[in-house]
């Protein structure tokens, strides 16, 4: 028996020895670093801070912010084709086209989830910068802090622009209470931008390359100008703003005065200029555009594909041209990724263009669309390197039992069941026709803010009563007019077609902004600002749109977001649905 005791003790001792500490259960990380590892070296700080830009690329997806902006305005439409075999998506797009969306739309969920997550990420990075402040120089610290705060404002701006009431916060891992009302969010955004703008990096020829694709002073002021000019459309009044946040020192006078002040700060910086060719801003290699104030730098290679999970995947790659172009375009240029024959122009939107406006439809007048650049594409799609029409075998009828020669037309007869050929396709983003297969997606950098927008905001603000001097006499402004009729007599033709802007009404500015900023994510807000959102002149085939317009200025908060809201003591969600959407 004694022997047994010895053995048992020995066995036990052995076992205990092997596990005397938890060391062996510690996870080995094999090269996976922690934030502390990364922040220990100033050189590496940018590799952490840089992530705040990485997911900005979700912005321009059709299942993301861009998609929501574009087809709910009059500039775009997404019609089911092939008897609903393509672009039906369970009726989702039709509900967007006809202003009948509800709170379960995928894009609505994507926009909420992506932008709020990006805003929280900015807060996390700001928090990290503060934690490791000692590891870097004061200049580096301040520059990154400002960059992150301004980009956070842009993410919150996207969310706020869509939903109005949002869980705005500037602290990381802070449990927020009820959703902030639009005017409170607006006040916060303006306060943070005004505080940061004067200290932000300024673009000049020496810094242009280094600051490319990053937030700068120019962008901060331009975003402020956009917030000011739209303030009233968000429900802001001089009496309801800056209640919970201190009024910025720079803020004085009316919203329009402030808009003009901010535009002037951009103009005076001398950093930006209007490109004499409209399409220079949208080329595959558009990084030299002096007009683009803030762009999303695209990586068109297959690498680094990231998608949201969920019913529909929103992707971090630019694919607008792939989305809009007819199937045959892929084969014409040996593009690696197929083209989807999706988004196109509402026919009524094209009526805004007159004459040979390069931003408009070219082909129908002279058949030279493939010789010159035009904003919208209609006309035949050819086979690769040939003058034969591409045969669309999905488009069959009694006359064409094996397929139809592809000729795109701008009219859409029935928006509930369009043919493959109907609807003009946006062509202002240069297509990669090289056929070398290096860029699967589009490599053109996507402009979020252009100098042209600053100029037009200023003119509009003046027209709306703001104090300032018109830029219409400036060389830049003249270029704006001239380039629109580059194939004619320039500014002279512009004035002949649209009248002299010096004598324009507000409505003329709305029309011009529509022509100039097509599919650049400003049209929906412009229509709301001008009181035209939901106007059936703008969204034909949606007879009830006007009646719902007031509610639909905001998108509904996604069902899933409300479901996971924190609860009050009675178990009720503290985040509530936007009024009007409760039963939709």
């Amino acid at each position: 028996m004694k022997k047994i005791a010895y053995i048992l003790t020995a066995a036990l001792a052995f076992g205990t020895l092997v596990t005397s500490c938890d060391d062996m259960l510690e996870e080995k990380n094999y090269g996976n670093q922690t934030t502390a590892d990364m922040m220990s070296n100033e050189q590496n700080v940018v590799l952490l801070v840089g992530q705040i830009y990485a997911d900005l690329k979700y912005t321009h997806d059709h299942w993301g912010y861009w998609g929501l902006q574009t087809i709910t305005a009059d500039e775009g439409i997404c019609v089911p084709r092939n008897s609903g075999a393509d672009w039906n998506d369970g009726g989702y797009w039709m509900k967007q086209n006809t202003h009948e969306w509800n709170h379960r739309g995928d894009a609505i969920e994507n926009v909420w989830n992506i932008t709020i997550s990006n805003a929280v990420l900015c807060n996390k990075i700001i928090n990290t910068l503060q934690t490791y402040k000692e590891n870097m120089s004061e200049d580096v610290y301040k520059a990154y802090l400002g960059e992150a705060e301004v980009l956070r404002c842009y993410y919150f701006y996207q969310l706020f622009d869509c939903f109005g009431r949002i869980p705005y916060t500037e602290k990381f891992e802070e449990v927020t209470g009820a959703l902030l009302e639009p005017e409170e969010v607006w006040s916060n955004l303006v306060a943070v931008l005004e505080r940061n703008a004067p200290n932000m990096s300024v673009v000049n020829d020496g810094t242009r390359a280094a600051l490319y694709g990053r937030t700068t002073q120019g962008f901060a002021y331009a975003l402020l100008a956009r917030l000011y000019i739209n303030a009233e459309s968000y429900g802001c009044t001089p009496d309801n703003i800056f209640k919970t946040v201190e009024k910025p020192e720079a803020f004085s006078g009316s919203f329009y005065d402030n808009c003009i002040r901010c535009c002037d700060n951009v103009i005076k910086s001398g950093a930006y200029a209007i490109e004499s060719n409209y399409f220079a801003n949208f080329k595959i290699k558009n990084e030299n555009s002096r007009e683009n104030i803030f762009v999303i730098v695209e990586d068109g290679r297959e690498e680094g594909e990231r998608s949201t999970t969920g019913a529909h995947t929103c992707m971090n790659k630019l694919r607008i041209a792939h989305n809009t172009m007819h199937y045959g375009v892929q084969f014409a240029y040996d593009m690696p990724l197929d083209t989807w024959n999706g988004f196109c122009a509402r026919p009524e939107f094209l009526e805004l263009y007159k004459g040979n406006d390069v931003r408009g439809v070219g082909y129908e007048k002279d058949g030279t669309h493939n010789k010159k650049e035009w904003g919208w594409f209609v006309g035949p799609v050819y086979k690769k390197g040939s003058n034969d029409y591409y045969i669309d075998t999905k488009q069959i009828d009694d006359d064409h039992p094996s397929g139809t020669p592809t000729v795109i037309v701008s009219d859409i007869k029935n928006i509930k069941n369009a043919s493959n050929m109907e609807g003009a396709r946006l062509n202002k983003w240069e297509l990669d026709k090289s056929g070398d297969g290096i860029y699967k997606y589009e490599e053109n950098d996507f402009p979020i803010m252009r100098y042209a927008d600053v100029l037009w905001m200023k003119e509009e603000a003046i027209m709306r009563g703001g104090a300032g001097t018109s830029e219409m006499g400036s060389a830049d402004f003249q270029k704006l007019l001239a380039r629109s009729f580059a194939y004619d007599k320039g500014a002279e033709t512009f004035k002949a077609e649209y009248g002299d802007p010096a004598s324009w009404t507000l409505k003329d500015i709305l029309d011009e902004r529509g022509r100039e900023f097509t599919w650049e994510m400003v049209r929906r807000r412009d229509l709301i600002r001008f009181g035209e959102f939901g106007n059936i002149q703008y969204v034909r085939d949606c007879p009830n749109a006007s009646a719902r317009a007031e509610i639909r200025k905001w998108f509904p908060i996604p069902f899933s977001v409300l479901q996971k809201s924190l609860r009050d003591e009675n178990g009720n969600p503290i985040w509530t649905q936007t009024p009007g959407y409760e039963n939709l």
């Binding site: 022997k3 047994i4 053995i7 996870e27 940018v46 590799l47 992530q51 039906n88 929280v120 069959i396």
Partner: protein
Amino acid sequence: MKKVLAFIAAALLGLSAELQSYAQNGYKIQAIVVDDLGPIAGAGVLEKGTSNGTATDLDGAFALTVSSADAQIEISFVGYATLTFKASEVPAEIKLAEDNLYLEDAVVIGYGSQKKKEVTGSVASVKAEDFNSGVKSNPMGLLQGKVAGLNIIRTTSDPTETGYNIQIRGFSTLDKGAGTSPLFIVDGVPVSNIDNISPNEIASMDVLKDGSAAAIYGTRGTNGVIIITTKRGENFTDVAQTRVEYAGYASASVRNGNLGMATPEEFVKLGELSNGMVTPGILRDADGNYQLTDWVGELTRDVAFTHSHDVAISGSSSKFNYRASISHKNAQGIAKVTNRKETIAKISASQKALSDKLELQYDLSYMQYRNDKFCGSFKDAALMNPTYPVYDKSTASGYYLPIRATNPVENMNNRESYGEGNFFRGSVKATLTLLKGLRLSAFGALEDGDNYGYWANKTINTDVSGSGKAGRNTDLNRNRLFETTLDYNTSFNGHSIAAVAGFSYQNFMYDGSSMENKGFSTEGVKYYQIGNGDAEGTFRRLSSYRNSNTLAAFFGRVNYNYMEKYMLSASLRREGSSRFGANHKWGYFPAVSAGWRISGEDFMEDVTAVNDLKLRLGFGVTGNNLNSDLMSVAMLSNGGTFWYNGKYVNTYTVSQNVNPDLRWEKKYEYNLGLDYALLDNRLYGSLDVYYRQTRDLLWDYEVPTPPYQYPTLLANAGQMDSFGVELSLSAVPVKTKDFTWVTTPTISFNRNYITKLSDPALGFNYKQTTVGGVGEDGMMSTNTQILIEGESVGSFYGYKFLTIEDGTWYFGTPAGGVVTSEGAVESYRQVIGNAQPLFTFGWNNSLRYKNFDLALFFRGVYGNDVLNLTRWAYGPMATIQSNIFMKDINGADTVLANKGVFSDYYLEDGSYIKLDNLTLGYTFKIKDNSYVDHLRLYFTGQNLFTLTKYSGQDPEVNTTDVRSAGIDYCDFYPTVATFMLGVNISFK
């Protein structure tokens, strides 16, 4: 014939089987061996401790000369209790009694074994002779349908996909972060891969179903434990013995099952077949002619052949035994190119030393395989317009190029992909007997698996983004185990105690790398010289990873019984995992079970109808580990690219919300069981009833942003309950000397409910989430199932279909209203079906007539719904270019697909019964003293027919996945029926 066989044996193995003949001047005995029905032919007669023996002839008679009148004579026959006599006392007629249903058989229970009659947990033990016959891609195929409550599903006939979907007693985890596979123990080693075991080399498989049995495996016990014991040399014998065995088969497979798609002939006639509602897009050439292409047929072989060979040699002596085997299999898939070759070599040996106080056991096995993968897509082929030609001389590749699709034949022919690998497993166990009944063991094992993958696409391929690319990857899996156990067995005055205590340490390491490139000078460069392609780096990809995890545990168990009437078992495991947060690394997993063998009581002595009756009751707690590493810590990973000073740099991000409080999922399970044998053992089996509850379910809980950065957090909160009944029954309706029929139905019922999916205290308010995502051309990606408190996993969630009138679909609302497609708003969705069968059954029939044996094995499920996604997504449309599913084409009653609305119209009854296996065998009568010991030829037909109302290819879809149970996705691999001829032969 005998000479030929002997020659083969000698030639194959380089040895001649020579047996000594004793008995020249000894004591002569002779007798007849009989049972209730008459003489037994072939019963073994052996002088104990020698190899001197014989077998009875057709009249049951034998004569044998033994060494002396005192020699011990052993009379044995399979299925009968062995009798032993002193030579001088051998009666003239020896009556053998059937042994009592293997009650004495050993059942492996983990860290030990028990006699079947002493087992108190719910354990099913299946011996080699009861395994399924036929071509099996891995050992789980041998068990399919055999064990009540063990659900084994194979949804492909592709031999390069070796896995089965396995589930014991239904869902007990939500499969998000936690593991779902049962734990496999192979000869004592917990492993993650059982492909490297030849089915012929398995002696038994034991399935620990309930918590009380599985709790000894702690954190990995929740999904059940399957213990595989491979064959070893025979028990130590006083006289050296040698045996050589060969098992081989050749099989041929052909396609069976109807895809449900339009045939080419139907496609061109769709207009008339649908009463004009469907206009097919017929591609005509200039002369108006069109093709009739069977696209799926273009991708398949007419017949796929498989052959397999297994040669084993085993032997034993008083101090040493061994078994060595080589298995080779070459399996073709029905899809062109598909092929798997595998060779497995295995050696096991045991040696006694130190006056038999020390026993050493060695096991070494090695596998080499090659998988040639199918590179096409059957879904693409099934949907391809049958009037399209395969080839087109005018294109660069020579293949016809359909719009917005790739040519499936081109896709298959211009791409290649294959995998190779090798796998080593070695273990050594030393057992030292310290005192009588007290043994100390040390066990060490190493597994090392390398897998290599290679792929290359020809430049001519029209898939521009993939063309000209090649890649290769390497993965290494290493598993190291060290265990030490102390076990003690004793019995006194009818009390019997078996106790074991031990410590276990196991470390898994995964490591791999992959690379790809394009731009090679010739097609021949492929994956051989990746560096010689594109130098700029545009298409060069490099990646690698390594991670590891460790489990450590202390465990102990005591089994007690009194007179084999009252049994008690208790175990405890304390286990820690590196994967959990610092405060939750360790957990306790206790179990207790008891048994009462009622038939052993005195008052049962007169109840002759009852041969055996045992009641079992058990309770156990098992855990579920996370199945990925680094989930509870904030590690940085690639955060996407960022444009910095004129170039892209990779940023770093913490890519998930981090939960330092992650802990074990725990399952609490009660099991009540009854083992019975009645009516002269003509009716026997067992009945189990269980209730199990999983707490702290791991799930990606939806959390608000802010405060969280990401929308979900992996955390423990939910709870799931399930209960079930399992019945296995064997009946022997006929039993005569020449003819026996044993019929064995098994049936199992399982129900589960998610009782909690939220925890407001932790901030998880999400009470439901939709899963079962599907997405196909032209339809909205839709989640078709819901996980919601109060419902079971696998609940289909959509609209209730009512009727179609004049082309308008009508649906019912939960409140009893009626709406059309347009009015079908979200809140009208409801639970419209369930993917879980009401019950699952297997039915084996084993018949023996003289030397013939016949097995008929049916299995199936009843009462489940299957979502026929192909029918929904590719049903009739007004004008169509691609091929369509035919079910809804019905003349004037043709129903056009409603792609936008998911309703129970597209749910079908998934009940089926399959003739899984039919085997007819013939065992030759072998004369005693011939070299050949045993010879059996057999024919097996597999998957011969399926009775079902389901309109797709095969109703046997995966029902074990929490997020996609019962969804018949559009991707498929054609089903086959297999016909095989096999032989088993052994020499002595």
